[in-house]
Amino acid sequence: MKKWKKNIRSLKDSNNMVAEIIGTVLLLGIAVAIFSTLYVVVFAYPFPTSSPNVTLIGTIEGSNIIIEHHSGEALSLDTELLIGGPKNSFIVRDFLDDESKSDGVWNIGERIVYPFKYNISCTHVEIMTVDIESNSLVLRKVKEDTL
């Protein structure tokens, strides 16, 4: 018993391993701080959204450009429509009928009807549809000799 008490006392009075313990605690603290900072910084940004899996079909019927949602995921009504370049930029909401807009998304079977005027100086039109959420192109179509 006496020996055991003596051992405890000598251990309490000893300075051995103090540096290692402080070093380990400091290293742990630094590691936790760095990982916490990284976690807050990295996970604050959303992961990049992949392009939606959607099939759009573009046709010209008479004097209308028709873009139909043919299959796949529903697109936002804020999906951007570029006709003839970035200067002619519209959003889908402006060209869908009221019934199609009622569910809040551009869905299967719903068509955008964009009226245009024939112009003899224009021989082709470029139509692009951009999904705003993923900032990706979901349709690009160049129609030759139409306008």
Partner: protein, 296 residues
């Protein structure tokens, strides 16, 4: 005893152990990241690609049925195939996509009413339906119905391949419409799984009827939206309802049917071609039916 004490006090191999722990931690983190973020993306893309494959396969099926309708040659089965699902990723945890293919009888009905409303003729039609059971991408169904291929999702449906429906607008309006009735012999009418299975089709019978002065065409279907938009666009592009909507025809849609009503001011003649196609899923053969008896 002394050696044990030496080993306890030794710092040898500590770096190796710490480095191993760090590397294992890093690997676990990377795999978790891939599993949580990238595997769902890859699988969704794989399932979307599989649905594109099914679209292509239904085009082939429609081509086979149209060819058999055109040549009207009994005893010449044509086999096409449908891939029901796709496999999971190797090593990583992911789900397999399944699907089912069914031949359903009396799923659709086309009814023609002429000016004498009490006189009507109905054609019950069978369909071929593929339904996906995807784990990541949204579920879709492809239906070969009355000569059309319809794509249906939970949010709606659309005409993927149009039926043989043509309109000629002159003094009278002449409509030609070919409807396909898919029927089956025996029990090979349904299959589920994820593999590729053949479906055999064979011309059985046909009949052409001319209906003068048609007033209503009713299609009892689960896909009213697809039919309504297709018929509305076809008729408008042919010159009907040019002055205003309702001038020549109106389309009413309810829960289970689409009704095309022509105004009394116009005369519509309908040439309806009814074609019966026998179909069978999975390997095997189809016996030709003549006069209601199996001709072996």
């Amino acid at each position: 005893m002394i050696q044990m004490k030496k080993m306890k006090n030794s710092d040898d191999a500590v770096v190796g152990i710490v480095a191993t722990f760090l590397i294992v931690g890093l690997i676990v983190t990377v795999i978790s990241m891939i599993q949580a973020v990238y595997v769902p993306e890859w699988m969704e893309q794989t399932e979307a690609n599989h649905m594109e494959v099914v679209t292509d396969q239904f085009s082939q099926l429609k081509f086979a049925i149209d060819t058999q309708s055109a040549i009207k040659e009994p005893g010449t089965p044509i086999s096409t195939s449908i891939t029901l699902g796709n496999k999971e990723l190797p090593f990583l945890t992911s789900s397999r996509a399944y699907g089912s293919l069914d031949i359903l009888s009396d799923e659709c009905m086309v009814t023609i009413n002429d000016s004498n409303v009490t006189k009507s003729k109905s054609y019950p039609l069978g369909v071929i339906k593929y339904s996906s059971a995807n784990a990541y991408f949204l579920n879709q169904a492809y239906i070969c119905e009355a000569g059309a291929v319809i794509l249906s999702q939970s949010q709606g449906n659309t005409m993927s391949i149009k039926p043989a429906f043509s309109v000629s607008y002159g003094a009278d309006i002449n409509i030609s419409f070919t409807i396909i009735n898919i029927s089956t012999i025996g029990e090979k009418r349904s299959i589920g799984g994820y593999g590729t299975y053949p479906i055999q089709t064979e011309f059985s019978d046909n009949d052409t009827t001319v209906f003068p002065d048609v007033k209503n065409i009713t299609i009892d279907t689960n896909y009213q939206n697809a039919w309504q938009k297709f018929i509305n666009n076809t008729l408008i592009n042919s010159g009907l309802n040019h002055h205003s909507y309702g001038a020549d025809f109106l389309i009413n849609v309810d829960d289970d049917s689409m009704i095309l009503k022509f105004n009394n001011s116009i005369t519509v003649n309908l040439k309806l071609k009814y074609v019966k196609i026998n179909a069978q899923i999975a390997p095997g053969w189809i016996e030709n039916i003549k006069g209601g008896k199996i001709n072996l």
